[in-house]
């Protein structure tokens, strides 16, 4: 997968594109407001995305404890409502915590580093191939075999419309 541009790069670019290219050309006040709402929504996404996975997992794990603590706070309170809270605590409060995800910035950096390593290996293999070492052909095939499904997945994930928008 691409590690550059990041999702944040793209969202930032779309926000700027709306401001630089669309808003100056829109006369209709309602359309102007809609464009600005789009910018606002996208900016909100930008703000959520960096910690989204960590926050979701963290909040999930905190809620497990909340159920247990609420049940404890109720003590021997009577009635169907108190019984339901204790039942919820015995179900949700027993859940195993979710593993905390590695921050995306770390996974991206690790991925990026190994990919750059493959890039350099490709240059080194070319040197061996030019010198006539057939084993380098085999080694390049190993790399291409790894890259193939990655590239196919990239195309599937990225492609949204046929052709080039804006050209004849």
């Amino acid at each position: 997968m691409n590690t550059s541009p990041t999702f944040d790069d793209i969202l930032e670019g779309v926000i700027a594109g709306i401001g630089d290219n669309l808003l100056p050309a829109i006369d209709n006040p309602k359309a102007q407001a809609t464009a600005m709402m789009m910018q606002s929504l996208l900016q909100g996404m930008r703000q959520q995305l960096p910690d989204y996975d960590t926050n979701i997992a963290g909040e999930h794990n905190e809620m497990i404890q909340v159920f247990n603590d609420m049940a404890e706070a109720l003590g021997d309170a009577q009635g169907p409502a108190a019984d339901r809270i204790r039942a919820a605590a015995s179900e949700f409060g027993q859940r195993a915590p979710l593993p905390m995800p590695v921050p995306r910035v770390e996974t991206t950096a690790a991925h990026h580093e190994l990919s750059r390593g493959l890039e350099q290996a490709m240059i080194d293999l070319d040197e061996l191939q030019q010198a006539g070492d057939a084993r380098a052909d085999e080694a390049l095939l190993v790399m291409r075999t790894h890259l193939s499904p990655r590239f196919v997945r990239d195309v599937t994930n990225w492609q949204a419309a046929e052709g080039f928008i804006g050209r004849g």
Binding site: D9, N21, V152, V155
Partner: protein
Amino acid sequence: MEEQLAKFVERLVPEATSVKIVDFSPIPGGFSRETYRFDAICATTEGEERLPLILRKDPPALEAILHTSREVEHLLIEALRAHTEVPVSKSLGSEMDTETFGEAAMVITRAPGNGATSDLFNDGPDADQVDDVIRHLCESLVELHKADITSLDPDQALSDARGVGIDTTSWDTYMDSTFQYYIDGYKTMDFDPTMMIVLDSFLTLRRNKPRPLPLAVVHGDFNPANFLYADGKVTALIDWENSRIGDPREDLGWMMLMDVLSNTSVMSHPVDEGGFLAYYNKLTGYDITPQELGYFTLFGTANVAIPVNSAIKRRLSKEHMGFLHLYLVQSSVPAVLALGQLLGYPGMEA
């Protein structure tokens, strides 16, 4: 802008005593130049003449995808008009002084015809014309490739049009110096390591040089969007900004790739001649094989990949904030499949 344009057109049309610009509006077309359509109403001693024109202006240098000269483009178009039957719009002149329009620019006439070439394909409204139009397109390309280089490029401005050290002394020096440009240029375009498939193509091209063919003036961006047509004929080949001396198979290879990316089928026509390549071979006698076409699809892709991806890299490092460059990341992704197929990546065979 209109005021500057009026003064400029006045210089280009000496018989005009005054010029008025009307109906000035941007054209959402090419990705690499800012283009505007307008009419110039030229008053002369004999009356008034209305000229349908186009202003092609360079974008700011950091945003520019291709750094070539509008003066060279102007001179080539006029040489094509003087020495060949290749359909092109008349070029009135270029303005290289950036004080006038902010960047270098040129003014050409607006050719008649439909520029929405997708109308020819996929059961579009002009699908009945497709064979005739593509036949003429092929004939025009052959005429370009067979034209005398010294007539079209007397000053050798097209030998190294980007100023990157290309040596067109012979086919071999051209290919070798171009490989070096590609490989050296990789560092300017590697905005993401997934670009290594492009690096792979550069290195593979160098290891597998094909047989030579006579060098020619190539269009350089011969693709399904770069012509206009009417009544079964091409009325103009457009966007000559990437023209240069090169191997004629580059234009064919680039068309093959862009045909796929554009969801068109230029290469399948004219049907009665067995498709574009077969007809091209019949007219030239070059006997270009599908394997050679594949090689030059990679080669032509490399030629465009360097400037396009370099501009994207400058965008991602925030040297400029152009929006189009982000879209190009997405819209170019299908090219990866084509590259993988041509390079023989396992599991990506056609």
